[in-house]
Symmetry: C2
Subunit: 418 residues, 2 copies
């Protein structure tokens, strides 16, 4: 991709309210564009990163045996009435609910328990049909009173939501913990050390649920955790205070931290199946309610969280698996012709290249490259060619070396494989 | 994928109103599930086919230099007011428009011209920034008074929409015709012989536009065309009748046919840029309005159209590039153990296998396999093993042969590459 042709190049001026680092950097570097409060376009750079986030999640979900599908975003009131959630004041506050021209009432989805349970009612009959594990990536809507932080708290955002149904509580929890591990693997591949935190279930369930929280000063959640064991609870359920002894290991001293919630898992139990009258015939011939659970990750919030964690004063520093391009190729004076040839050669070698072919100063091009944050930068200039090749530098630590053109593609592939 | 674990297996009974072949077959074979009138879940089988449709479109769009991104689905009234479309009665009839709890007005998108033009206003300054070619895949909403035919006319559906902006009318039309060819290539890869038909622009433009129509008896559009040349117009603009001489080549006799619209392209001109005050500085320093065009394909409607065209009495017959799986592996009596081994071997060889491992009769399993429509079926039974291997048959013509297990994967790959 030629940078001169990219929609969404770096901006000089961005609004002052962009205070969160992810908001400021994603906006300034041309990853996102605001349509209105809480509503963002993912520009080509932003979409490329989100596609990689989605693909990592997809791979980890598929490993658990889950099946991808796609459910509608607009839901009829009737289906949410069955579980009593349509009129729940906590739902009313955040769900966009409206009537069409003929008076029929709809809600814009922020979750899909009712739709999945409706599907199960039609497609599940016997214990042999269970477990079911299905997920989709789709747009979610949530009428946040105060959207903030760019993608961190938006009114329209992407969500991967997984739903599972089981013959027994035991089988449900077995898969629940498997998904927990699968989430941790996915977050780790994205460069996020997520902490599993106990939490209340809100409008979903009265059971204890789990959030995946990334500790960072920019987070708006507060969590209490023990540095000596895996104890962690969010502030809504923790009954204690910072500095006390850990109630679990009795050794560590409880700390408090800001954090961003990037995922959550809910062991919902039989509540939804009972409310919607969904049963299966068990092996002994009896009718039973399936055990149900749901699991969410917000890829657009993950995008912002990764930037909150991986940046410096100059800009973003992408983890290898999420970078929008493998290489940021920058041509400076005297290097344009060689850069053109390298651009083609690297693309032929299967590398994804962002080629800054603009007629701009070295200062502008290098600071844009730091801002955009691709892990590997290749600089081609009269000077580098004089030294025998191109200057390859790593965004993460700024180290650089001169590499000959013929070894360039292999060198870069080696970096990504290491 | 084991068929016994798939969400969305074949149904015995489907509603009588499912008259269109695509509606009936996609429902019966477990590709789709209805949430409410005009609203469908793509079950795992359906999602797999739509993913392939999307990937073909993506590849053909990328070849034209277009960039993928993702725009919001909920639009503020203000942006549609700028072009006067919010209050256009033709828009009011089909767009879901509503107020949130605080009285702010929104519309659910059925197209994105206003949002793209808003983006261009922020990101395009000079003639050097043009052309811009951007697209996304997203959910669209359209309050159809009478949804029908399953995915053929739905209220919520998928759309790939592409938008381009140019320095001149000439450059716009150059790309417009390039996209036309790109669409024909994409449809051809999907097994659709689409006809390019002149049409009026509706709520989009007063210019002449083009639709991509697939001639089939199940279509609800009517088009007039000449069998001797490329003349084709839809019924809204054709001023003549069936049987007359072709107004273009003066040789052929005009025919009329039912057809399904699977795509459309609109040369919008400067109307949107003028309405929204978007300009660029041309090479001579003057301020000009960019020339704008938009281009749509509906992947979910394509899914249904392919079934309308490619089916027989027994079920669907997928074109090779769209099949949800490469192989439908069916085990019959005495073949279960060998089938298990083949399932693993074929997946290791990189084939996508749907394995009917159920304990059902040969009759049920074979008719389900015909219904689902995967191009290659591999039957493993005591009989086939006795004859030296497995029975490989082609869905399209029913021809079959016995193939030894060791040559099976190569044989199937050969079929897909031929």
């Amino acid at each position: 991709m030629r940078y001169s042709k990219l929609l969404g190049r770096s901006l000089r001026d961005i609004p002052k309210e962009a205070e969160a680092p992810s908001h400021r950097l994603l906006l300034k570097a041309g990853y996102i564009d605001q349509l209105m409060a809480g509503s963002w376009t993912l520009l080509p750079l932003g979409w490329r990163v989100v596609s990689k986030i989605n693909q990592i999640i997809r791979e980890e979900m598929d490993k658990t045996g889950a099946q991808e599908m796609l459910m509608p975003l607009m839901h009829p009131k009737e289906i949410w009435n069955k579980t009593g959630r349509w009129d729940d004041p906590r739902v009313k506050e955040i769900m966009y609910q409206f009537k069409d021209q003929r008076g029929k009432e709809f809600g814009l989805s922020f979750t899909h328990e009712e739709v999945v349970m409706d599907l199960l009612g039609k497609h599940i009959h016997s214990y042999k049909d269970l477990p079911v594990k299905v997920y989709h990536f789709s747009t979610k809507f949530r009428n946040e009173p105060r959207p903030r932080g760019g993608l961190l708290r938006a009114r329209e955002f992407l969500m991967k939501d997984l739903y599972s149904a089981h013959v027994s509580k035991e089988d449900m929890y077995k898969y629940y913990w498997e998904v927990k591990d699968s989430y941790l693997t996915a977050f780790s591949r994205m460069g996020l050390a997520a902490k599993v935190v106990e939490a209340a279930g809100g409008v979903f369930t009265e059971n204890c649920t789990h959030e995946f929280q990334v500790l960072t000063s920019g987070g708006e959640d507060s969590i209490f955790y023990c540095p000596s064991c895996d104890f962690a609870q969010n502030k809504e359920i923790f009954e204690g205070k910072e500095g006390q002894k850990c109630p679990k290991c009795k050794k560590g001293i409880i700390k408090i931290s800001n954090a961003i919630e990037v995922g959550n898992i809910f062991p919902l139990g039989k509540k939804y199946a009972k409310a919607m009258g969904v049963t299966f015939t068990d092996s002994d011939g009896s009718q039973k309610y399936p055990w149900f659970a749901s699991y969410g990750i917000g890829p657009t919030r993950v995008l912002a969280t990764v930037v909150e964690v991986h940046h410096d004063k100059k800009g973003i520093i992408w983890p290898k698996e999420l970078t929008p391009f493998d290489v940021h190729l920058v041509s400076l004076e005297g290097g344009q012709e060689a850069a053109e040839a390298l651009y083609e050669a690297m693309e032929r070698a299967g590398l994804e290249v962002l080629f800054d072919d603009r007629d701009e100063s070295a200062g502008v091009k290098l600071s844009d490259s730091d801002l955009i944050g691709i892990p590997v930068r290749v600089l081609v200039s009269r000077k580098s060619l004089g030294a025998g090749g191109v200057e390859v530098s790593r965004r993460v630590d700024g180290t650089s070396e001169v590499v000959s053109a013929e070894h360039l593609a292999d060198k870069i592939k080696e970096f990504y494989e290491s």
